[in-house]
């Protein structure tokens, strides 16, 4: 299963990005082989509709779950149609690495 994590920059030590449509990067983590790929969000400065564009991208990338701080209503409606699970995490100070470690340990994503 592929999980997308919104990331401010490229690299495992980057901070988790609380925004979805306007996140800087996406970290795509594959739970089957542990592979990690970073892909830049070319829609982050879009003139409106950044959320729907990004949702489309997630579907194209075969992502099954997204971890982000917030999903706009339009993106949310689309992701539901694409059957992509949304996980909201409210910890902007975490690094991507810390989040992946949590996923590996199969502990819940939300600490609270």
């Amino acid at each position: 299963m592929k999980i997308a994590i919104t990331s401010e920059k490229k690299g495992l030590r980057s901070k988790f990005d609380l925004r979805f449509g306007r996140a800087g990067w996406f970290c795509i983590y594959d739970t089957e082989n542990g592979e990690v790929i970073f892909t830049e969000n070319e829609n982050k400065d879009a003139n409106g509709g950044a959320g729907t564009k990004t949702a489309e991208k997630m579907a194209e990338l075969n992502v099954s779950q997204i971890i982000s701080g917030d999903f706009g209503p339009k993106a949310k409606a689309l992701l539901e149609k694409f059957k992509i699970q949304m996980v909201i995490l409210d910890e902007g100070n975490k690094t991507i690495n810390e989040i992946i470690e949590r996923l590996k340990n199969k502990s819940t994503i939300n600490s609270n």
Partner: protein, 291 residues
């Protein structure tokens, strides 16, 4: 962290004065002026601008008369009636009517149309004596105010998360159109400011209909309640019927305008007035309503 958005439907009901009064009473909050079209909150809060951002509100078409063959296709296809012949009979774009859809540019058989970026809008991150504030300045006649609202609200939320602020106070725009919709979308609570007039009540009801469709909790206050006690009672009944908590009633008081002239909040200008006391009570209810 919660965002509370002050709206009224009708203009001049007192949204900004309410937001300013709360500014004096609140601790650890972030301000966001969603009335990007005619922003006024800065006149009281005096923000010191820390960051200026350009807001890209889209493009406007421009026809190059040298290559234009006057075939009329653009004029015919424009759904916004933005292209008309000028005095020499050549088609010309009215920048105020142009929606920036670029259809004319794409269908022009001789590539005579280009799109020009519109950089007339700015938004700011500032400090005020009451806390951080995000606000904007739109160029006159600009489009896309809804998107600008979305943009500054996002920034306010980021700042609130960074600084661990408890509440974002958003001063909303009048009406129920695109900037109002952009203000309501995803907020945590709407504070309806109603003035006791036929139009105030009519407009508040339309706004409530909008907010209800978003399933967002609503609370209300009646401003200048003593101008018309009969309508104040009607508003009370309406709120009751729709289970909207009435947080308080503010009397009409010329001191409010005096405080505005002094560029102060009413709580700063006249802390012992009935108005200020009432605002204090209302703010307390909002703070305690921490669910």
């Amino acid at each position: 962290m919660r965002e509370i958005t002050i709206l009224s439907g009708k203009g001049g009901a007192g949204k900004t004065s309410v937001a300013a009064a709360f500014a004096s009473l609140a601790k650890n909050v972030v301000f966001c002026d969603n009335d990007v079209d005619a922003a006024d909150l800065h006149l009281i809060l005096h923000p010191e601008i820390k960051e200026t951002h350009e807001f890209d509100s889209g493009t406007i078409a421009k026809i190059n008369p040298e290559s234009c063959t006057n075939c009329g296709l653009c004029e015919e296809s424009c759904r916004f009636d933005a292209i008309h012949p000028n005095t020499t009979g050549m088609p010309e774009v009215n920048p105020f009517q142009c929606e920036g859809c670029r259809l004319c540019e794409r269908i022009c058989p001789v590539d005579a149309i280009t799109s020009v970026q519109n950089n007339n809008n700015h938004w700011f991150v500032s400090d005020t004596r009451f806390g951080p504030m995000v606000h904007a300045r739109m160029g006159a006649g600009e489009e896309n105010s809804g998107r600008l609202v979305t943009e500054i609200r996002k920034k306010a939320k980021e700042i609130a998360l960074e600084q661990n602020a408890g509440i974002i106070i958003s001063d909303g725009p009048p009406g129920i159109g695109c900037p109002a919709i952009a203000s309501v979308t995803g907020t945590d609570m709407v504070l309806l400011v109603v003035e006791p007039s036929r139009s105030g009540m009519h407009d508040a009801k339309r706004l409530y209909e909008l907010v209800k469709s978003f399933n967002i909790p609503v609370v209300a206050l009646i401003n200048k309640f003593d101008i018309n006690l009969e309508i104040t009672a009607e508003i009370g009944a309406f709120l009751n019927e729709n289970k909207i908590p009435l947080l308080g009633k503010i009397p009409f008081d010329p001191q409010l305008v005096e405080s505005m002239v002094k560029e102060q909040t009413i709580v700063e200008y006249s802390p012992d007035s009935n108005m200020s006391r009432e605002f204090g009570m209302i703010w307390q209810k909002i703070e305690n309503n921490n669910n």
